[in-house]
């Protein structure tokens, strides 16, 4: 009986010890500020972000898409409704890429000319499922 209790004490104390260490590490990790992607305001702000590869997210600004006719080069503006950034991309654009819809670009930001050179463009999938008629009505109202 005594050995059984001692064994349980060994187990429970190590359980508590390692779980509290694990918890400490989680708290430490949460204190780290991690940005999975940046907004145009982050990049145009005063803090300089120097990374080989980063992601920006935002909306494609209206009337800003410039698609070159004889090559795959594209220019457009990504905006978070406060600031906007010019994005340069060479490649095939995804189907769902259009004005006023969400986009995420991966690439690097050149501070000298203020252009974001994208290596990859991802259209943000619309999470709203709306019938066509309703959408039309909404558009007509506004």
């Amino acid at each position: 009986m005594r050995t059984k209790r001692r064994n349980r004490v060994i187990f429970v104390s190590s359980l508590i010890a390692s779980l509290s260490v694990a918890f400490t590490f989680i708290v430490l990790a949460m204190n780290e500020n991690v940005d999975f992607y940046y907004t145009p305001s982050d990049l145009t702000g005063s803090k300089i972000i120097n990374k080989d590869s980063l992601r920006i997210g935002g909306l494609v600004q209206e009337d800003s898409i410039n698609i070159s006719k004889d090559s795959l080069e594209t220019n457009f503006l990504v905006t978070d409704l406060e600031n906007s950034i010019e994005v340069y991309y060479e490649g095939i654009l995804p189907n769902l890429f259009k004005e006023n819809s969400g986009v995420i670009a991966r690439g690097f930001y050149d501070y000298s000319d203020g252009i974001f050179y994208a290596k990859e463009i991802l259209a943000k999938h619309d999470e709203n499922y709306i019938p066509k008629e309703v959408k039309k009505a909404l558009v007509n109202d506004s």
């Binding site: 050995t3 059984k4 001692r6 064994n7 060994i10 187990f11 190590s14 359980l15 390692s18 779980l19 260490v21 694990a22 918890f23 590490f25 989680i26 430490l28 990790a29 780290e32 500020n33 991690v34 990374k51 080989d52």
Partner: protein
């Protein structure tokens, strides 16, 4: 009372040192898998540098799982496992010691080797240091999962054990790779902390379930 745990430690260490197969086995396995990748993907320096962290992590994951599969097998076959179960000693401590010894002799050498092979795969030196750190935190998790796989399939060592355990190791692999890939940025600490949290979270749960798995062979 202490002597039982200490003796387990001593005996297992001796067995490791005296047997080339248990000491060299994982090393040979690791080196040969590392060699397979350039042979399959070509020797292009840029391509290998991009893949190197993943290559090393996957090879270590497999080598580690394999080397821990048979950790309880001998004790099971010669009957000493029955005695340990009946002895009333803390099985938790006993299993932890066994896994620790196994880790020291089969995983630690691999971590040092991984530093060497990282040069062969053109991984930048700073990234290699992060790699070693993530392996230091990650391999004990793999060892415990490997031991669990071994404990589940004591009677017949088969592929089932490791195939169950590999999907559960994924968080360690992902966090390790993410840490290495962001070695230039400040995010690296975030992933390393999380990996450490995963390690300490796993210790009690995995060792306890190892014991549960061992007991099922004696019910």
């Amino acid at each position: 009372m202490k002597s039982f745990y200490f003796k387990t430690f001593q005996r297992d260490s001796k067995v490791y040192l005296s047997r080339s197969s248990s000491f060299l086995g994982p090393i040979v396995f690791f080196l040969i898998t590392i060699t397979l990748y350039p042979l399959a993907f070509g020797s292009d320096e840029e391509k290998l540098a991009e893949l190197s962290a993943g290559i090393i992590w996957i090879s270590i994951l497999l080598a580690n799982l394999l080397s821990h599969q048979f950790i309880f097998n001998e004790d099971y076959k010669d009957g000493s496992l029955d005695l340990v179960l009946a002895s009333g000693k803390s099985l938790f401590l006993w299993a932890s010691i066994k896994i620790f010894v196994n880790w020291c002799f089969s995983s630690l050498p691999l971590i040092f080797l991984s530093l060497l092979t990282s040069f062969m795969l053109y991984l930048p030196f700073d990234a290699a240091l992060i790699l070693a750190l993530t392996l230091f935190l990650g391999t004990p998790i793999l060892s415990m999962f490997g031991a669990l796989a071994g404990a589940l399939t004591l009677e017949r060592g088969n592929i089932v054990g490791s195939s169950i355990v590999i999907p559960m190791c994924l968080p360690a692999l992902i966090l390790g790779i993410l840490a290495i890939q962001s070695y230039k940025n400040e995010e690296v600490l975030f992933y390393i902390f999380l990996l450490a949290a995963f390690l300490f979270f796993s210790i009690p749960i995995l060792i306890a379930s190892c014991l549960g798995a061992i007991r099922l062979h004696f019910e």
